[in-house]
Amino acid sequence: MITAGKYEGQHPLHPKARQILLDAFDQGWADPTQISSQGRQAEALLVQARESIAKSLGLKADEIELWGEPELISPIAIWGAPGFGVSPFIYGATERSEIIGMRGKSKQSFEISVDIDGAIDLELLTQTLTLQPNSIVAIQSANIETGVIQNLKTISKAVVAQNAHLHIDATASGARFVKPAYWSTLHFDARSWNGPSGVGVFALKNGARWSNPLPHTKPTRAPNSFSIPLALAAASALEYWIADESANSARLKSLIERVRNHVKQTISDVDIAGNAESTLPNIISLSFLNVSSEQLVGALEIEGFSVASGSACVASALEPSHVLKAMGLLTHGNMRINLNHDVQDGEITKLLALLPGIISKLREN
């Protein structure tokens, strides 16, 4: 029984989206650029899928491109921003590593720190933007490890005031993302709405300046070498996800609230990332002092719960989570819960009944 969901997305593909995927593979989708009836059919379905994805995300169909390698979207969106390399590059301290890694490709870069709740230091951001006009700014809409949501409404106002490029990483928020009035480029991953892995969405706001940094001879904004069956499945998974969300969003939020309150009341010396008002409704990150995450994850696994951790002793890297570190939170004894729509209330009840005992037992060792 996997309940608390697995970190970073790989929730099972929606059953109906899975059927679409299998059908599409079975029918052997032809190359949509070829003039054959199969090719034309594939092209028509793809146009529909793109329109559906754009509409579901509140975007225009001509603003989006589908990508077959989602992890590359943010780096390429940043790389293609006006003047990247020479222009100052400003990013949040809790951005994903591939975005932070872009600092190595820029002559000047500025990291904006976050407070203990994970919120970007707005004063420092505004100050940096004023001193460094025409910068390229990369900020996430929410963090995948902690669920902390950034105040994009205020951030985007500060960015537009200085004529900077704003890239938003929406891979954690997915279809929960609320667009601010101003943005330049966006990045989504179909895994965030229980779509297949291997499909991402790059959005370029109409009128925003950006040029494809990859080698190309014809005007194009994307390599377009993504898998058509995966793209069709991603589009339908998004529609199903949105339908399920309206039925479940309040329930997920209250389950996460139950976890937050129960842990606070029953377990001492615990860091809970972010505050309830500014975190995603389905994610919570808990760090227990003097507990080994490896043992914690293992103990929960025996009980049938699949959780992940940002502690160094569990992740393959030696370094602990840079996100928890940037927030000043405990990096050991960490577990993350990422709830999917199909989670049963009883599973959380069981988890909460077990957790205090597991923690105190691990602390005795």
Binding site: D269, D271, S287, L289, N290, V291, S292, S293, S311, A312, C313, L318, E319, P320, L324, K325, G328, L329, L330, T331, H332, G333
Partner: protein
């Protein structure tokens, strides 16, 4: 006089767990010199100090001076 606690070579969360035990046994105001080369120690020490109400100083990359203050 600070008591030395050598946790070099030990991975997280062992240095913090051993420090917690040591501090528990110590008198108020007692100092502990923690030697730890685990990359998580520096970050976790500040979280530990905030949570337990103790104080610490970074002496060098793998030397930390902790004072029992709570």
């Amino acid at each position: 006089m600070a008591t030395e606690l050598d946790c070099r070579g030990k991975r997280c969360p062992l240095p913090i767990i051993e420090l917690s035990k040591k501090i528990k046994e110590s008198e108020l105001g007692q100092e502990v010199l923690l030697l730890s080369d685990d990359p998580a120690t520096a970050a976790d020490l500040s979280a530990w100090a905030r949570m337990t109400g103790n104080e610490f100083k970074v002496i060098s990359a793998d030397n930390f001076l902790i004072t029992k203050s709570n």
